[in-house]
């Protein structure tokens, strides 16, 4: 009996609803229909009057969650796609992110964002928004890469007294399976060594962890041991774990599926070069998507995002330096 990444997200919401009467779910098509991806399947049946369909109004959905949080609720908002959170951007960055700082009242809301690309999804159903939200103070941004993290980090997000942007990767929904959900190992804010190594470090998160692991396998055939750091939390970023890894390997590839300008990979490199410059044996490298909107056709899409082969090629350049 195995469980997928998507089922883990559903199970986590089931547990959150079961354990805490102040939790409710609000989002488009999430009640009877069970969500566009079925992440809330049957939850409205199991928890009547706790799971609600929302109008197509991302701004109002987030604003509503903030008001509810002030009154002691712990809402989980489902954005149908992370892309559409740009319509709720105002409430997220101006209202949710500033509430505690301005008024001393915490804002415990969780916004689930089905993120990242899948073949055929095109420019408006494929975006990764973690860098945009990380730029704003007052938000916590997580991007689980495993079934366990999808489960435990969602439960942790709901318990957290601050607004959490929970970036769940659509590519992993069905592709990623585990035999069972293991124990909770790390809290939000701590990175994980997904694969130990000593010749180079890849720092990445979300679906790219799996591409990185495959590239590391490939390089192993050439005798290289590549360490893969899964950030888990984009913000706060576990700089200590990143620096410790670079100290072991001397080489860094920062990898992300998001657009290349600025962003998480740039932040990783900024931190390593400013705090761990002396640890580096080679200039740190970055690999992101191309700097265009995300294409529709699979031929273009596969070339737009980093893949096992482009990551392996980047690693070889890094190791040759």
């Amino acid at each position: 009996m195995s469980i997928t990444y998507l089922e883990a997200i559903r199970e986590a919401q089931y547990e959150a609803l079961r354990h805490d009467p102040s939790v409710f779910l609000y989002g488009q098509d999430i009640a009877t229909f069970g969500g566009a991806f079925k992440a809330t399947k049957n939850l409205s049946k199991e928890f009547p009057n706790r799971v609600f369909d929302a109008p197509i109004s991302e701004d109002a959905m987030v604003g509503m969650a903030i008001g509810a949080a002030v009154e002691g609720a712990r809402p989980i908002i489902e954005m149908q796609f992370a892309d559409f959170s740009s319509v709720g951007f105002n409430q997220i960055v101006n209202q949710a992110a500033t509430l505690y700082w301005r008024t001393n009242v915490p804002c415990p809301i969780t916004i689930r964002m089905p993120s990242g690309g899948t073949a055929g999804s095109g420019p408006f159903h494929s975006q990764s928004m973690e860098a945009i939200y990380s730029h704003y103070p007052g938000l916590v941004i997580v991007a689980p890469a495993t079934v366990e993290d999808a489960y435990w980090m969602l439960l942790d997000s709901v318990k957290l007294n601050d607004p959490v942007i929970y970036c769940e990767h659509k590519f992993l929904y069905y592709h990623l399976k585990a035999e069972q959900i293991g124990d909770r190992e790390l809290p939000i804010g701590k990175a994980r060594i997904a694969r130990p190594g000593r010749h180079a470090t890849i720092v990445t998160y979300s679906a790219m962890v799996h591409e990185a692991l495959r590239a590391a396998e490939e390089l192993q055939l050439d005798g290289y041991q590549i360490e893969v750091v899964d950030l888990r939390s984009v913000k706060p970023m576990d700089t200590d774990t990143i620096l410790a890894s670079v100290a072991r390997t001397g080489r860094l590839l920062a990898l992300g599926e998001a657009f290349p300008w600025g962003g998480v990979t740039a932040e990783v490199i900024a931190r390593v070069t400013s705090e761990g410059f002396h640890l580096l044996d080679a200039p740190p490298m970055r690999l992101n998507s191309k700097d265009t909107p995300i294409p529709y056709h699979p031929n273009l899409w596969k070339s737009h995002r980093p893949t096992t082969s482009t990551i392996a090629a980047a690693l070889r350049r890094l190791l040759r330096y």
Binding site: A60, G67, A68, T103
Partner: protein
């Protein structure tokens, strides 16, 4: 539910003037006068320079419309999301003027502790939300508070109320939130102060419907129009709207017609408002109208009005003098922490 959006203004008539109405009228008048005197003082502090950094935003001309809603609300039970020109409504709701002065002067003793200023203040846990500058954004937050209470079974007959201007009704946030509040049939009163100018932009460049209240039916909410310079009519309208909301009538929209008797802020001389417009009935000063009404009905003598005026000025002066001696924020004592979970705050990553 039978929806009514009345384009002809609600008018107060003699039979409305019960003893209870009179008491509420006089209470409103007191709140209005306190707001006016306080804001005049803040305006002069701003013009003198030094004491107030940033802007000063006055509700001059909007006090009747604002207070008439605020006075219907019960602090500790209802949720109020006031906007930029709601000093009178805030006082009516029960916000002490100390909170106002402390926020304008940036005192650490105030609710915003120098982290935010002027009209961006509130005490959310007491039902008084702190507006952000993005217009229309507060309506969904008020709705969310009511929604959560309904889920928790604690809603009772509490309501939410929030304000917006003619310009704010053009935002997507306002549209989304009012539609959502209507879908959820939440007990919420939305006051729309149509002061005819959004900063400098006249109504003709803001919306194309005949009257803003025409939109109410489109949202599925009840609507009323009122001459917002007339406190008695404002009271009649808000008493009716609040009663409707409390008894399950869903969202209520009240559009008040008036003219802002100040600039957008004290930095703005409002030279874009033509002289002719200033002679329009909508340009009447609601404070004077209320004072005349109270005197004409024998509810307050000239001597009482004079005494009260003096008392209000004394209160304002004492408050400003008290706050002036209070500490302003010290950047070295500031925690610089935007998250409530201290363990998730990143250290300063400096080279």
């Amino acid at each position: 539910m039978c929806l009514v959006a009345l384009a002809s203004p609600i008018n107060c008539v003699e039979t409305d003037l019960t003893a209870d109405f009179r008491d509420q009228f006089l209470l409103c008048y007191q709140h209005m006068l306190l707001a006016r005197v306080l804001e005049e003082k803040l305006g002069s502090l701003y013009r003198a320079g030094g004491r107030i950094v940033g802007g000063v935003y006055l509700g001059k001309g909007q006090e009747a419309f604002s207070a008439a809603l605020g006075v219907q609300l019960r602090k500790g039970k209802d949720i109020y999301g006031p906007l930029i020109r709601d000093q009178a409504g805030r006082i009516a709701f029960g916000e002490p003027i100390l909170d106002c002065v402390r926020t304008y002067l940036g005192a650490v003793t105030g609710p915003m502790r120098g982290r935010d200023g002027n009209i961006h203040r509130g005490r959310p846990k007491e039902g008084l939300l702190a507006m952000i500058s993005h217009l229309g954004s507060l309506l969904s937050v008020v709705a969310g508070g009511l929604f959560a209470r309904r889920l928790a079974g604690t809603l009772g007959d509490s309501i939410g109320a929030t304000s917006i201007g003619d310009g704010g009704t053009s935002t997507g946030a306002f549209h989304e939130a009012l539609n959502m509040a209507a879908v959820e049939k939440l007990p919420i009163v939305v006051s729309v102060a149509n002061n005819q100018y959004a900063y400098s932009t006249p109504n003709t460049r803001q919306y194309a419907c005949e009257n803003l209240v025409d939109r109410a039916v489109g949202y599925g909410v009840s609507g009323m129009v009122v001459d917002a310079t007339d406190l008695a009519s404002c009271l009649k309208a808000f008493r009716a709207a609040v009663a409707q909301a409390r008894s399950g009538g869903g969202p209520q929209m009240i559009v008040g017609t008036l003219l802002r008797l100040a600039g957008h802020g004290e930095h703005d001389d409002a030279s874009y408002i033509p002289d002719q417009k200033r002679r329009d009935p909508s340009a009447r000063d609601c404070l004077q109208v209320a004072e005349d009404f109270a005197r004409d009905h024998g509810w307050m003598s000239s001597a009482e009005l004079r005494d009260f005026n003096e008392e209000v000025r004394r209160t304002v002066d004492l408050t400003i003098s008290k706050v002036s001696k209070e500490p302003t924020p010290d950047p070295f004592k500031e925690k610089w922490q935007a998250l409530s979970c201290a363990d998730l705050v990143e250290g300063q990553h400096e080279a």
